[in-house]
């Protein structure tokens, strides 16, 4: 009896499952898109956690006012246009005729509701409040919204490109309910949320009434596959159509496979070395005999010598397997606010030795480098290589790498009095906004919690001329002038070797032949950028 019921149940389930599959299979299987992601989501609530996997996925369902194209240049999305009326007021004209997934029309009320919700999601591990803080939103009419700020704020459109607009009806929906898909009104995006299995997959179905046109996919499944070799194997096995974050060691092989295509572009992420600028005596720097010496990193010539001793093309060729580009500043050429004058510092060991001697260290010193493991592509190998390069310069170099969870805490506040603990560290920085202001402000501006400057300045670099230029740029609403001011600030800090950039990563996707991925600088894998060939 027992076996009978179990079998009966099994047969029944099979029948139930098979019926729809069989009817749809013929029509839809070709249009289903399966994507392998490298990181896990923490929620489907677009305002709960400001981290890229979440933001990326939310973008399919909930669109922001302002969009970012594949090179992160701003483009109209839910706002058709925007302009600064005066130095402290921005006006956004909203797109008309846009509907949420259930047919509710999109208006200024939804924007106002979103601005109330986004910074105030309970228990948010990283909220969007910084993008909304200090801004007053008013509805002028159904399709016009004004944003008032206390001081000139050129980055208002950029800030509003970071999170999606939810319908006013879902303003009180909790994060848990978003996960369960209980915001039935949905967003205005090209895709609707169909299924979310935490730690496993997100399934999206197309929004038939999307204002931006029809999507070619009948169903999009994002699978979270954190192990890189597994992701590659799943693509090779045909389980997936597209994978992101291809390990550098596999790129050459995948390029050589006739059944696959590879798409890549330079990333907004720079890998760099931050160094102790603020201590008279730095904890991980000693004289050759082990004695305490004054911090040599405060000497410009020493910093220049270290930068010249790094063989950037060598790192790119050998360690990154050509999946990177040597860096001379904080963002690759062509990004907003980058300098046209700066080039990667050329490798010149003799020149570096000379500079080091001129600075008063003809015999070098001892130094320990620190860095995270498995946070950036090939991070440990890069640190080890650079340590070798410094050793050739005459600096006895040791390496210590730590798990990210320990490294970042100690690198930010592990020293006495909650200051950064290390002397010389490898870190990476992705400019989420796509312009150099966020990198400069976070990494090189003088550390000042009250003003929110230099929050990630782990070397505590401080240069008043640079600060003044940056502040000028951050309060210039005119784009051309701001671009110029940022480039100048970049020049000042790089010529002063505030930090040492080594390379920009490449973002790489691999896909089945016939599926074309639009490579993006922000590392986002968007189904809306994947097309059939």
């Amino acid at each position: 009896m027992k076996t009978f019921s179990a079998n009966g149940l099994k047969a029944l389930k099979l029948a139930i499952l098979a019926a729809p599959v069989m009817t749809i299979a013929g029509l839809a299987s070709a249009q289903e898109l399966k994507i392998g992601l490298s990181a896990e989501l923490s929620a489907m609530d677009p305002h709960y956690h400001n981290v890229s996997p979440n933001n990326m996925l939310a973008r399919h369902i909930y669109e922001p006012l302002v969009g970012q194209d594949e090179k992160q240049a701003l483009k109209p999305l839910l706002a058709e246009s925007w302009k600064a009326i005066d130095d402290t007021t921005w006006e956004f004209k909203l797109r008309q005729g846009v509907k949420f997934h259930d047919g509710t029309p999109f208006t200024a009320d939804d924007v106002i509701a979103t601005m109330q919700r986004a910074p105030n999601v309970p228990k948010s591990p990283s909220s969007f409040s910084a993008y909304v803080r200090g801004k007053e939103f008013t509805k002028v009419d159904d399709f016009t919204v004004r944003v008032k700020t206390a001081a000139p704020a050129p980055l208002v459109p950029t800030d509003l490109s970071t999170f999606g607009i939810i319908p006013a009806k879902c303003k009180d929906t909790t994060t848990e309910d978003f996960n369960l898909g209980k915001c039935t009104t949905g967003g205005t995006g090209a895709y609707k949320q169909a299924e979310y299995v935490s730690g496993d997959r997100v399934v999206l179905t197309p929004n038939e009434n999307y204002w931006g046109g029809k999507e070619p996919w009948s169903k999009v499944t994002f699978r979270m596959i954190t192990s890189a070799p597994t992701r590659v194997a799943a693509l090779l096995a045909g389980d997936l159509d597209v994978i992101e974050n291809v390990p550098t060691s596999d790129v050459a092989r995948l390029k050589g496979d006739a059944k696959l295509s590879v798409a890549s572009t330079v990333s907004n992420r720079v890998i760099y070395f931050h160094m102790d600028h603020f201590r008279e005596v730095s904890p991980f720097i000693k004289g050759k005999d082990g004695s305490e010496i004054k911090n040599p990193l405060r000497n410009l010539k020493v910093r220049q010598a270290l930068s010249m001793a790094i063989n950037r093309p060598g790192i790119v060729d050998r360690i990154m397997e050509k999946e990177a580009i040597p860096a001379g500043q904080l963002l690759p050429d062509g990004f907003f606010g980058t300098s046209k004058k700066l080039k990667p510092v050329a490798f010149d060991l003799n020149g570096a030795k000379k500079l080091l001697a001129e600075a008063g260290y003809p015999n070098g010193f001892k130094m320990k480098l620190h860095g995270p493991t498995n946070r950036y592509l090939n991070d440990t190998k890069i640190i080890e290589a650079v340590a070798q390069m410094f050793s050739r310069l005459g600096i006895e170099t040791e390496v210590e790498t730590l798990p990210s969870a320990n490294f970042f805490t100690r690198a930010s506040q592990g020293g006495q009095g909650n200051v950064p603990e290390f002397s010389f560290i490898l870190v990476g920085w992705g400019a989420g906004t796509g312009e150099s202001s966020d990198s400069l402000k976070a990494l090189l501006a003088t550390f000042d919690p009250a003003k929110g400057m230099g929050a990630t300045n782990r070397g505590r670099y401080s240069n008043p001329t640079f600060d003044a230029k940056l502040v000028e740029a951050l309060s210039t609403v005119d784009d051309a002038k701001r671009d110029a001011a940022l480039a100048e600030a970049m020049d000042i800090s790089m010529n002063d070797v505030g930090l040492i950039p080594t390379h920009y990563q490449l973002n790489t996707w691999a896909s089945r032949k016939g599926v074309k991925v639009q490579a993006r600088t922000d590392e986002y894998t968007l189904a809306t950028g994947i097309r059939k060939e």
Binding site: K13, N50, S124, S127, G199, S227, A233, A234, R410, A455
Partner: protein, 325 residues
């Protein structure tokens, strides 16, 4: 009997309480989760806001008191990352892991027992030597490597089985399982075999040792003398007697299959609790780590208790009541 169970329960409670304290403080001295959670572009004010929102701005002993207060009500805290109850998250992912562990255990018995039995009854044959050699490989090859090889062989090269993930699930009495569909079995096959590999070797060795010993026992000789069939001697007299140590070990091994399937789950992108733990560790999601360890402690304590009871049922010579005297 009752006294024995009560005594074991009291011991269990003490173990759980001690683990609670050790784990909480152990996990809370490592790093600072804020830097793992927050978007790197955020400023100092936002870092402080997040610390406040998660209660990380308070001194550790105060956090512990809050934790104890909630734990007394069965709430082991909310995940920093997901914002949901840590226990709920774990329980939600548990069926996937249990499924994997269960299939692995069945595979270990189905494959390991006959092979081990054969190797024990015919220790000199070539096949037996081969089985023993292979079982050494099972012990010594690293799980992640075998996992990748399985994927490369059966998914990439041969294309017989899917490389990753769990198949479609069906809800039975509120529990999601993928073992009721063909597709589900295809998905579970490789990871379960990967997870089972070590246990298969273990069962082979236990069964072989047991069989070799039992084959020389008087009761087997008498059975032979009575003219019983070979299959009856092996199936009833030998098998039944070698099952006792195997059940004991497998009981405990089941616990480790459930608790530490981290590697297999990661390699095969299996959405179980192992991956949740790994994610929690990399992101320093303390409440989830603490809750996970507590769930595992409770699991092991329970399994130990059950194994003792089953043991006594299999072998009537074991008197549980004696333990109290």
């Amino acid at each position: 009997m009752l006294a024995f169970v009560l005594r074991r329960l009291a011991q269990a409670l003490f173990v759980i309480a001690a683990m609670l304290v050790i784990v909480f403080f152990g996990v809370n001295v490592v790093g600072d989760p804020i830097y793992m959670l927050i978007s790197p572009e955020m400023d100092q004010q936002q870092i402080a806001e997040t610390a406040r929102a998660l209660g990380l701005d308070r001194p550790i002993w105060e956090q512990f008191l809050v934790f104890l207060k909630n734990a007394a009500q069965g709430d082991l805290g909310r995940s920093f990352v997901h914002g949901e109850s840590a226990i709920k998250l774990i329980l939600h992912r548990m069926p996937a892991t249990l499924e994997l562990a269960f299939v692995a255990l069945v595979l270990a018995i189905l494959i390991g027992l006959p092979l081990g039995l054969y190797a024990g009854l015919k220790p000199e044959s070539r096949l037996s030597r081969f089985i023993m050699a292979v079982s050494i490989l099972g012990f010594s090859l690293p799980t992640f490597w075998v996992g990748l090889m399985l994927i490369l062989t059966f998914a990439v090269s041969l294309g017989w089985l899917p490389a990753t993930g769990r198949g479609p699930t069906v809800s039975v009495l509120g529990i999601e399982t993928s073992l009721l569909t063909m597709q589900g079995w295809q998905h579970v096959a490789l990871p379960a075999f990967n997870l089972a590999l070590l246990k298969i070797s273990l069962v082979i060795r236990l069964a072989r040792a047991g069989a070799r010993e039992a084959a020389l026992m008087d009761y087997v000789k008498f059975a032979r003398a009575k003219g019983l069939s070979q299959s009856r001697i092996i199936g009833v007299h030998i098998l039944k007697n070698i099952m006792i140590p195997i059940v004991t070990v497998l009981g405990l091994e089941f616990g480790s299959l459930v608790a530490f399937s981290v590697v297999t789950e990661t390699i095969f992108a299996w959405p179980g609790m192992g991956r949740l733990l790994l994610e929690a560790i990399t992101r320093l999601d303390r409440p989830v780590i603490v809750a996970y360890v507590m769930v595992v402690v409770v699991l092991f304590v329970t399994i130990n208790l059950l194994v003792d009871l089953v043991y006594s049922a299999l072998d009537p010579r074991v008197r549980l009541t004696e333990a109290t005297s």
